[in-house]
Amino acid sequence: MTSIAKPPVKHPTARTNGRGLTLRDYEGAMSTLCAGCGHDSVTAALVQAAWELEIEPHRAAKMSGIGCSSKTTAYFMKQSHGFNSVHGRMPSVTSGAAAANKGLTYIGISGDGDSLSIGLGQLSHAIRRNVNMLYVIENNGVYGLTKGQFSASADIGSTSKKGEANEQAPIDPVLLALTLGCTFVARSFSGDKQQLVPILKAAIAHKGLALVDVISPCVSFNDHEGSTKSYAYTREHEVEAVHADFIPLKREITVPETGEEVRVVEMHDGARVRLRSTATDYDPTNRESAYAHVRACQARHEIATGLLFVDENGRDMHDYLKTVPTPLVDLPFEALCPGKDALGKLMDRYR
């Protein structure tokens, strides 16, 4: 909590993006999360990504469930749409919203509790459906809102603040997503915006569900020595598989040449992600090797980060459903609901 609202003063040299908006125009309400919460850094990264992508705030929808993570949506893009759903049901609500209006940019924010416990089935089926959305999991390994019990993502041997060790095997959302056919899988760290911001930008530009698992330490209950999701542990054990530079279609951005091998993946809107492998022979377009790499890192007690897998040729929910190009919400009522006679004709086909 803070005692005051953020002063309405901008830096005198604050730049505007192509829509004439400054970074601060993408902010939301003042965060009421604990001081130092990783989620606030994710918020700042989202603000940065949205500003750089020049998203029109009123053409975006922020979706969330329940938990500390799900408060995040209140803290950025105050002029966007939003839906704070029942615990774990964010993916379904987003599926419904995306079905009705595919014209919006969907930003779903969830946590390890919301997505990997109560909402695990929801997450899995949203991935299978390939809803066109950004799906951020702010992953801190604990139920922060209920004072620090282990969540489903807590590693074996990781201790609680009082010293008790977790013995159950964790659910790794990245491995889960890879096995379920997710077309964009990344992991990052709230304390590393240089990595996180381009990943978020690429994830927003991706067509289909882009899952970004962000290690986002809980300063109040899981930032101690025995934790495997603390700031210090993550910094020590992070292994970046691929470094991503995001190049939007609209603006030419020069990216420093490193002499390393670069893979360019074109996003559906023409933007590009340049991927530089930092691990030897890492291929971010090969699902099997991505899976193997994450498993191998896990065995070495390392945390694989970066854009781990991307496939821009996947089909999203609207492709599967063969909907018309116009968002359903924009269709005239007569076209959307052609009436009893049309229904009768349709039913006849199944008789």
């Binding site: 005692s3 309405p8 830096h11 005198p12 130092g36 606030d40 850094s41 700042a44 304390g191 910094r235």
Partner: protein, 593 residues
């Protein structure tokens, strides 16, 4: 690059822009907060520690603090710092028992020449230490230029009397109506030290054709103002030209309007942005329907039958030459009719009373005594200079600062301590944290705009020469205005070993002052790598020690920090703290043997 040493008081002092810019280093945020609490007495006395004339300077200071004010970089207008001194002075109760008192006599005798601001500041510092102080003043009242050159519609005599009296009542021996004709003679009287605070009493002459034929109607600005003050001059012609556009010119034109002139023009050689007068003095003159005429260079005085009827000017057009210098070309000439001309083009020092064979060296080029910038001592030990007498015309607040510095030297000289040994400048730095998100100051940003100074009705102010124009802020206005202060003395203090690099401070900072980045070799390149490039190189950037986890550093651009304390409120480990900085200045008597 090496980390910033914040244990050196200079670093945090520089962050408090107003206090840094003030020659006397007045604790501005401190006295503004006291006003906010309604503690006018305390505010007045805090002010008086460094600036012995809060009531006087709260009306007529040249306000070097205000252009420096951070608020002016954050939005359009700075805090009305100067006039807040007057709020404290106007609303104070009886504070006489809290003023410094004359000390038990130490047997040392000091002579001060001139009873202006510089000498009074010296007396203020030396009397409590027990010095026997004698002040020689050619007029019958103290105050110097503050009394005879500043019109009473800007500075009422009663305000001046009160604040001069606070000093004199400590036990100074006043020799009014006494002109010092010979420094040699004064020294022969056996004083342990002599301080010269005689000001720059000679107005500059403009020797153009016709000048000496029109003696009756051409006046030297500061002399004319003094004559009006003493009642020697009660009228002036209807059409008056003022030559020059400094603050004396502003006082002349406005005084002329009060002694019979109806058509007053201030004639300036250059364009408005080059004027020496403070913008608010120009505004006040224009409010009184004084015309300011730009780009006119005086050429000659025009006389008809031995009487001044006008003045001829060359009309100038200014352009920039290849080297970037402003050059003028004459585009024509014009005769502006007038009855009187007042010359306000500057002031000079004059020391006809200082013998040149007493070991006190003069600079041959300027005919000015050679005075050490730090100690204020001339080349003759025991003779000190301050105020306008030292290095030419400056503002009153400079004279006060000189007085404080010279008093240190005089004390050292009399006590056998080298005058070059200066007392150390110190600071206290105390956490302003009172509890969870609770601070010893109001950290919320107030969006109020600068308060407008209420003025006396135009009609009423011309009825009498002594009607004060500025009415002073009301307590209600003052309460809003002090809330505009950004409390720059509440410093953001960073303790690198505590930082876990969670980015919370960087994310929450409303003006993008903070960056966690890798260290580098040059400040220039580092300045470009920050969250918002630090383009204002006049403002420092803070560099922390290496952070524990990644060995990167925390960098803070001090330029537009609002001192809102959000970094400290969002910091989970209290690596950031808000700390109240109090500069401990050096004054006479701090070093003893």
């Amino acid at each position: 690059m090496a980390s910033t040493d914040v244990r050196n008081p200079q670093y945090y002092h520089r962050v408090v822009d107003c206090q840094w810019a003030c020659p006397a280093h007045t604790n501005v945020p401190g006295y503004l907060r006291l006003i906010a609490q309604g503690r006018y007495d305390d505010s007045y006395l805090l002010n008086r520690e460094s600036n012995i004339f809060p009531g006087i300077l709260g009306r007529v200071c040249d306000r070097p603090c205000e252009p420096a004010c951070r608020r002016g970089r954050v939005e359009e207008k700075p805090v009305a710092i100067c006039r807040m001194k007057r709020v404290a002075a106007d609303n104070r109760g009886d504070i006489t028992d809290r003023l410094p008192k004359g000390g038990a006599k130490n047997g040392k005798r000091v002579a001060l020449v001139g009873a202006g601001p510089a000498s009074l500041a010296v007396a203020n510092d030396l009397l409590p230490l027990g010095y026997d102080v004698t002040i020689f003043e050619k007029n019958a009242t103290p105050g110097g230029l503050m009394r005879i050159n500043i019109p009473s519609f800007r500075l009422p005599a009663q305000v001046l009397d009160e604040e001069c009296d606070y000093v004199i009542r400590m036990g100074a021996t006043m020799r009014y109506g006494t002109t010092v004709d010979s420094l040699k003679g004064l020294l022969a009287e056996g004083y342990d030290a002599v301080f010269v605070g005689t000001g720059a009493p000679k107005g500059k002459e403009l020797d153009l054709p016709g000048r000496w034929d029109a003696k009756e109607n051409v006046h030297i600005g500061i002399e004319w103002l003094a004559n009006v003050h003493f009642g020697h001059v009660e009228r002036i012609g209807q059409r008056v030209l003022i030559i020059g556009v400094g603050n004396t010119a502003m006082d002349c034109c406005r005084t002329a309007k009060r002694v019979g002139a109806t058509d007053v023009k201030v004639m300036a050689r250059r364009g408005r942005k080059h004027f020496k007068a403070s913008p608010w003095e120009l505004e006040d003159a224009e409010e009184e329907q004084v015309a300011i005429v730009e780009n006119h260079a005086p050429k000659r005085f025009v006389l008809e039958q031995g009487k001044l009827v006008g003045m001829e000017f060359e009309q100038l057009a200014w352009s920039t030459d290849a080297t970037g210098k402003q050059v003028s070309t004459v585009t024509g000439t014009v005769v502006v009719p007038c009855d009187d001309v007042i010359l306000a083009i500057g002031q000079d020092n004059a020391f006809p009373w200082i013998e040149r064979d007493i070991g006190l060296e003069f600079d041959p080029k300027w005919d000015m005594p050679i005075v050490d910038k730090e100690t204020h001592q001339s080349t003759r030990p025991g003779v000190f200079f301050g105020g306008d007498a030292a290095w030419g015309p400056e503002n009153i607040i400079w004279a006060v600062a000189h007085g404080h510095a010279a008093a240190i030297s005089i004390h050292h000289h009399c006590q056998g301590i080298p005058v070059t040994e200066r007392p150390p400048v110190g600071m206290t730095l105390v956490s302003a944290k009172m509890g969870m998100q609770s601070w010893a100051y109001d950290n919320d940003y107030d969006t109020t705009k600068r308060a407008k100074m209420p003025h006396e009705d135009l009609a009423k102010r011309f009825t009498d020469l002594n009607v004060e124009v500025e009415l002073g802020y009301t307590p209600a206005q003052a309460a809003l205005e002090v809330a505009r202060c950004l409390n720059c003395d509440i410093q953001t203090h960073f303790d690198a070993p505590l930082c876990i690099e969670c980015d919370a401070c960087v994310d929450v900072c409303p003006t993008s002052c903070l960056t966690i980045t890798t260290n580098g070799d040059s400040e220039t390149s580092l300045r470009t790598r920050l969250s918002a490039p630090a383009l204002n190189t006049k403002q420092a950037i803070f560099l922390s020690d290496a952070l524990p986890q990644t060995k990167r550093i925390m960098v803070k651009d001090e330029d537009v920090c609002l001192h809102c304390g959000l970094c400290a409120e969002r910091c989970p480990t209290a690596a950031w703290d808000m700390r109240t900085f109090d500069l401990k200045q050096a004054y006479a008597g701090m070093v003893t043997r």
